[in-house]
Subunit: 294 residues, 2 copies
């Protein structure tokens, strides 16, 4: 009746992402015909058509979209099982903490120092990641705990404790007229003709239309900011973006950003509980929860 091996899920994800059997087969290091057959078998077993075979590659049916999202989650869960089991077997266990490169420098340092000061605290490995990759890393077991930022990061499936809430500032070239202002509004910064806001790729790797430059990474964006080609609205504490030739002006009506310490819902470990308690103590902001130690 059921079954569904991870192999089939991996195949489907490859085809769904590449939208092309040939490229997917190449990515999977296999020939195209068995891949076609495997997908057909998957569709037969599910009793559901997942792909529309067009003349130029394939496209996803609505059910296929659901399958893609669910298959990614399931594959992440399998990866997490492997990683967490391996780490559980390693004698000296450490916590892997992941955070967006450049964000919350002082806060992270403070947290690590406070944690290291605890008697019997386990070591913490810091794993820097891009953009909103923290959730993925937590879900597939590459990380145990993450520093994330509401309302930007998707927190579904994660538990978290609040560390810090702060306002946002606009980063502008010092010579720009707006740089002399003591404060700004979102309406003002979102429509500055000579400093259009950068555009990030969507999930399908295309870019939304607009005048701003296209960027794919934080370092590209940093370069553009340094060149005075775009402006940025970021949490006040993100020092990594601040150069001498730029100024930071508070944006009054930008939504406040909350820095959170997050972990996979249901995680149960002594070490994690200790770190979360340390974080909660660091800033006695309202705790949203705490990892259970059964």
């Amino acid at each position: 009746m059921d079954g569904l091996e991870t192999r089939e899920l991996r195949y489907f994800v490859a085809v769904a992402e590449e939208r092309h059997f040939g490229r997917a087969a190449e990515r999977l290091s296999m020939a195209q015909p068995p891949l076609s057959r495997a997908i057909q078998q998957l569709e037969r077993r599910l009793g559901v058509v997942l792909l529309e075979r067009n003349r130029r590659g394939v496209s996803l049916t609505p059910a296929g979209e659901v399958m893609l999202a669910q298959a990614r989650l399931a594959l992440d869960a399998v990866d997490a099982a492997v990683r967490r089991t391996r780490r559980a077997a390693a004698a000296r266990s450490t916590l892997v903490l992941t955070t967006k490169a450049g964000a919350s420098h002082e806060l992270l340092k403070e947290l690590l120092d406070a944690h290291a000061a605890r008697p019997g605290a386990v070591g913490i490995d810091v794993l820097l990641c891009e953009l909103g990759e923290q959730g993925r890393l937590l879900r597939d077991g590459r990380a145990d705990v993450a520093i994330m930022h509401a309302p930007f990061d998707v927190m579904t499936g994660l538990d978290s404790v609040e560390i810090l809430t702060e306002g946002q500032v606009a980063i502008l070239p010092a010579a720009h007229p707006l740089a002399r202002r003591s404060s700004l509004t979102m309406a003002e910064v979102s429509d500055v003709p000579d400093l259009p806001i950068a555009r990030w790729p969507r999930h399908d790797y295309t870019y939304p239309p607009g005048p701003g430059p296209e960027v794919r990474s934080q370092s590209q964006l940093a370069q553009l900011v340094a060149l005075g080609r775009t402006l940025l609205v970021i949490p006040a504490s993100s020092r990594a973006w601040q150069w001498p030739e730029h100024v930071a002006v508070p944006v009054l009506d930008a939504p406040p950003v909350t820095t959170l310490l997050a972990w996979p819902a249901g995680a149960r470990s002594e070490a994690l509980a200790g770190l979360v308690e340390t974080a909660g103590r660091l800033r006695a902001g309202g705790a949203a929860g705490s990892p259970g130690v059964s």
Copy 2:
């Protein structure tokens, strides 16, 4: 490098749960030798010893315990992928709502009526389950939404909206001395010699020690209550437990029970959002969140 087919996870879970290769093989409808080999191969690929082979069956290493928990989650995620994809393909989609049999009768009826009154509301199938099975059903895709009760049910990985908070009552035989009281305390009901509180099995199927009868299902417990062999502390609205020959006495210091409508974190569907909104409107208690519709 990695791989890990769900077959291997299923095999491991069977052996870990049965703590016996032979019984696990029988449960899997296969012979014992290939099962042994598959587990050995799994351990080799992970580079981790998961099982201690004792003379009388097997026991789990600490890493094996981690693997068991993670493998269950991963297998649930795979099942969920299948179920959600099939349901996405079914033209006329319905929501599957699950709830503990017997709990929150009136509330559920009210919710279903209110939902049915909405224009364009999708159908709702009700799936009755045992004990704290709701979370499992949500995680493996057999249900889309559940009625759960804090602080009893584990809410990790789930989003929820509060529907109702209420006190708890003790259910006693009408003839019992305590039944004439207008209220009771936990201290009083937890130590009634002739009505010892029933004991539920732990996860390893053993029972905690104590004088109370051992029960494995709600219906067994109902039978014992009807026989006047045990007492019960339950939410005031759980009518299913109330017979003419019993009385309900409020227990003043019992923790209040909150009835919640819960769904898998990250679920995104128009139909679910509608139901959640209806539930939130039903009782304008504080909403803990709402499912995103991207």
